[in-house]
Amino acid sequence: MTYIDAIRDAQDHLLREDPSVFLYGQDIATFGGAFKATKGLAEAYPGRVFDAPISEDAMMGLAVGAGIEGMRPVIEMQFADFSSVGFNQIVNQAATHYYRTGVPVPLTVRLPSGGTPGSGPFHSQSMEAVYAHYPGLIVLTPATVSDAYHMLIDGVALDDPVIYCEHKFLYRWLKAKSIDKGEHLPIGHARIARAGKHATVVAYSAMVHEAVRAAERLLQDGWDIEVVDLRSVKPLDIDTVLASVARTGRLLALGEAFPWGGVTAEVVARVSAEGFHLLDAPPMRLNAHDTPVPYHPKLWAAHRPTPESICDALRRLLAI
């Protein structure tokens, strides 16, 4: 079972269990979506899965309207990058609705996020930071097959607008034998992806795996690195992060997104403010370069953090 299979299965589950759920997105009906995340669902659930026109603004407005009426629309953006066109409805209509009116709009936007080789500046973006900045949105960033499944189901059950950032690089590469469909960590909790004692890497989405890879390499040098998987960037489970930093004394905040602001800034700022005394060394950040995501695989690989650059950063952090 791959990460994308889990997303498909979660939607299958949602359609089966909750009559208020419907799916709306470009090419998601008979075609099953650009990434096949809805394959077979239009046939299995007639009248519940719809092809949308190329109108991200109206797609989001439709979702808000349906949410007002008590439905739980799940919107697929073909790529996270195109949600920029629906940005206004997301941050101004959906995000403010509950605060202004007291009426929640339970909608979920699936954002196929993050870079893959050759995808270029407009099919590679990570937009979690932009949405997390706005009050009224919940931003989920699952890193595992199990989280991809459970967090989508749990996210759709929330009464607030949920931005569900699914990482395209993990779609087919990340596999699990099966998913435990019972007990699981609720939304709002971070997870220790790898226990360690010398430094904490706080990561989310695909970068969790790069961090674990880096940690495994450093083991050869005798360093034991803890990796925290944030799971959701808003809400941000700072307690789990602080508890980890309390154990290790060192923090590297790791993200694939652009370097100004964003999750790594929020994590470092929160830890510095709330856990200053826990830090034995200056906290560090590692992000992508401050350019659009380049097309060429060679540039792309150097644009984002890699196990090598994470190891380098950790070595510097551990040397202090």
């Binding site: 419907f22 009248g47 519940r48 949308a52 026109p53 109108s55 603004d57 109206a58 797609m59 989001m60 407005g61 439709l62 979702a63 808000v64 309207g65 349906a66 949410g67 007002i68 009426e69 008590g70 439905m71 629309p73 206004n88 409805q89 101004n92 209509q93 995000a95 403010t96 609705h97 509950y98 605060y99 202004r100 009116t101 007291g102 009426v103 929640p104 009050p135 009224g136 919940i138 929330l158 009464d159 607030d160 609720p186 939304i187 709002g188 909790h189 808003k234 809400p235 941000l236 489970d237 700072i238 307690d239 929160r270 403010a273």
Partner: protein
């Protein structure tokens, strides 16, 4: 179209001839003209719409004075001159069944649709008891769960929201006989949101009515800097929706044409675009003197006051008489006075008791919700316990 149709008979003839209200795009001209006649003959409809116009005017005059007296913080946006269009739409809809997303100049439609007067005074005066609890103000109010969504400022954005509400009702099997309607300005037709929303509604063939109140200006910007077609109703065909034009200063025409659009949508003809021509008889907001409106426009046919026209029309058709109108006026003045007084006596929102929560969800992890945590590092006053 320089001589307003002022007797019932004239009005109906005008409708049939396409003068008072023209049904464009060549659909069902005879049938609809006949239906329009029925509607125009509907005495109760006209009385309801007229009363809404009158009450809206009186309320808005009061809002204007309150603003000038410094009693309202923020903008005051009035619908003066647009009451006929607005009231005709609000009256054609059925509260509890239909969806109505009023916009910036729709006090009359709100009143006709049954919005409590107190919603308005409380929201403008910042009473915590208003539907927006002081969190939003002025024309940003409604009852989304009861079919009246609350506008955001971003123009055009409500079109797809109404479409979504109708889409949801269809999925729930509760679409039969339902109409969803919204109004929009001439300026707002330039937004991508309008285009995407109307196109989506057309694809889904939703029972939707979009009324464009073409008041010839978007703030200070005239039509010529907003679109290049002769009449916005020419857009209907390109969306594959019904298109109707109407003289927005003529209540009888509005009643028949907008009523017809609503009827068509209700009976399965898909989305309808109505373009009403008129002039806003006030500033963009009460801060604005509208000095950019040239005299010749103020003085032309569309510069006339739709309330005066409606008064004459209703008296001439015998739907009401001056005496009753005077009584309505007195009663409305009193109601407005009372609603203002009540809202003014009510408490403002208390920042110390405000929950400062933008999310409906509460998370199990203590302190992990951004709200709780951020409040701790945010401005005084301390957050209230929810």
């Amino acid at each position: 179209m320089q001589s307003p149709a002022e007797s019932e008979a004239d009005a109906l003839k005008a409708v049939a001839a396409g003068a008072g209200g023209t049904l464009s795009c060549g659909v069902l001209m005879n049938e609809s003209a006949a239906h329009a006649a029925n509607l125009a003959l509907d005495r109760e409809f006209l009385r309801k719409a007229y009363l809404a116009m009158l009450r809206a005017r009186i309320l808005e005059n009061k809002l204007s004075s309150l603003y000038k007296a410094g009693k309202i913080v923020g903008g005051v946006y009035l619908g003066r001159g647009q009451e006929a269009v607005s009231a005709a739409l609000g009256s054609a809809l059925e509260p509890g069944r239909d969806v109505y997303a009023p916009l910036i100049r729709d006090q009359a439609g709100r009143t006709a649709f049954g919005e409590p007067l107190l919603d308005c005074t409380r929201t403008y005066l910042g009473s915590v008891k208003g539907p927006m609890r002081g969190r939003d103000g002025n024309i940003h109010r409604g009852h989304p769960a009861q079919g009246m969504p609350v506008m955001i400022s971003h123009l055009g954005a409500q079109v797809s929201v109404v479409a979504g509400m109708l889409f949801a009702r269809r999925l729930k099997g509760r679409i039969d006989g339902v109409v969803g309607a919204t109004t929009i300005g001439d300026g707002a037709t330039s937004t991508g949101a309008f285009h995407e929303g109307l196109n989506l509604a057309a694809i889904e063939r939703l029972p939707m009515v979009v009324v464009v109140a073409n008041n010839q200006f978007a703030y200070s910007t005239p039509n010529a800097r907003q679109f290049a077609c002769a009449d916005l109703v020419e857009r209907a065909r390109g969306y594959g929706v019904g298109g109707l034009s109407v003289d927005g200063t003529d209540l009888l025409a509005c009643a028949s044409v907008i009523g017809e659009a609503v009827r068509r949508a209700r009976t399965g003809a898909g989305p309808q675009l109505v373009v009403a021509r008129l002039l806003r008889l006030t500033g963009h907001g009460e801060h604005d003197d509208a000095s950019y409106v040239p005299d010749h426009i103020r003085g032309d046919h569309y510069g006339r006051d739709c309330l005066d026209v409606a008064t004459r029309q209703l008296i001439e058709t015998g739907a009401t008489n001056q005496e009753e109108i005077d009584a309505w006026r007195e009663q409305s003045i009193e109601e407005v006075r009372a609603a203002v007084a009540k809202a003014q006596r009510e408490p403002a929102p208390d920042p110390y008791r405000e929950s400062w929560a933008a999310l409906a969800s509460r998370f199990a992890v203590p302190d992990s919700s951004p709200t709780a945590r951020d409040s701790a590092t945010a401005a005084t006053p301390a957050p209230a316990t929810p």
